[in-house]
Symmetry: C2
DNA sequence: CAGTGGTCTAGACCACCAA
DNA sequence: TGGTGGTCTAGACCACTGA
């Protein structure tokens, strides 16, 4: 375990015992107590600042952040997302087949139009009730034989274990749509009901697009949360 | 100007002239050429990595990131947001008055229920056509006399210049809603049309809530974009 | 196995805040 | 004005990549 990561976790438990806006020890004190250099302390505090757990005022100190607000969203699977919301995740496979890339898919995945693309379509459940419709598209060349596999469990686990694919960062775009008849029925909503549509392009560690996913959420059950910061 | 910031800008122009996935010089080379320490180079590269301009592979190098995907959203005003999208921003004041905090407002702004809150309600235009309805709420104690001021221009400029209030980070929550008759009319949309609703709590440098804003966007004209990353 | 990014150290000075 | 976080240096070793 890296020292700054270990220190980060140690500080996090200290922080949890403190009230909002309480001052942390000075960087020099933390360095002395934990027997590390001040740079290492700063690495740990940088991470805690990014995650929204502390804030810093030059010349004054480092303080415990407000807790009223939700924490910043990170890259999670549907299952993790639901569990974080206190719901039991479930899944029903609707389709798993190979299609050809249209213009948009080709551009986003760095393919040529008509290149083969594997599509996995699933209805996702939370506490046994429909939560969203998920349409995953992957370049067929990256996932040979995927459609024959067991797709009832975690797709991301499968992609990592069997194909070595890992989404390292994703660009998301959120819009509001009206449900068509098919989607409304699958989600158990009235036709024309408003829904939240999230389009996501996932990139691996080498910044190569490996998936494009469109997810349509029931507006009455789901909201997207995230943090924005001023560039310093 | 801090050295790592200067270096960041210099590297950014170098990057713009390179193709995707092209390798940057090594950290040690950059340090030597720009006569700075390697730590300073790393600070600059950290920022470029966060902004999605480069990616790094341990043992291999630092590379120019993919450009197909949109860049991460930062904290911007409506005007900046529209200009970034190539649209001309406009505004029409609907209401500016003092109301009392309901339970939700009080909790989010750290006030007591019934505390006075200033509300500024505006219809926002892009290229002269309605884009969204914006409802800003501010603790009245922070902005005495605001309702009498000229609210046709930039509210954030006014808050900064006159009251020293600056939003440093914001927690956003995005949902899909159906428009009621009033909102539909104001936005020039059919009733029950789907719309994107963004609720935002803005915090200042000291992590104190200073505003809560609810914005209702026309779904046919607007989408919310942001980046998510895996925790390393 | 040579070279890369990742981590860590021990120091120094600066900009800023609060008393 | 003393103490804080912010910046910067010059070095060292480690973990990993790719030829």
């Amino acid at each position: 375990m890296r020292k700054h990561e270990e220190l980060r976790l140690a500080l996090l438990t200290e922080i949890r015992a403190l009230p909002e806006h309480a001052p942390l020890p000075t960087e020099r004190d933390i360095a002395a107590v934990h027997r590390v250099s001040r740079n290492t302390v700063r690495l740990a505090l940088d991470a805690l600042e990014t995650s929204g757990d502390v804030y810093r005022i030059q010349g004054a100190g480092t303080f415990v952040a407000s807790r009223v607000v939700s924490k910043s969203a990170t890259l999670t699977s549907f299952s993790q997302d639901m569990e974080a919301r206190g719901l039991r995740p479930g899944s029903r496979l609707l389709a798993a087949d190979t299609v050809t890339a249209d213009e948009r898919l080709a551009e986003q995945l760095g393919l040529a139009v008509e290149d083969p693309v594997v599509r996995v379509s699933r209805l996702r459940l939370a506490d046994d009730a429909p939560m969203c419709l998920e349409n995953v598209h992957l370049p067929a060349s990256l996932v040979p034989g995927l459609v024959q596999r067991d797709l009832s469990g975690s797709l991301y686990r499968l992609l990592l274990d069997e194909y070595g694919l890992e989404v390292h960062r994703a660009e998301q775009s959120v819009t509001a749509v009206e449900l068509d008849q098919t989607r409304a029925m699958l989600l158990g909503m009235p036709r024309h009901a408003a829904a939240l549509e999230v389009e996501r392009v996932g990139l691996d560690q080498r910044d190569r697009p490996v998936e494009m996913t469109t997810t349509t959420y029931r507006a009455d059950r789901y909201e997207v949360r995230f943090t924005v910061r001023r560039r310093r």
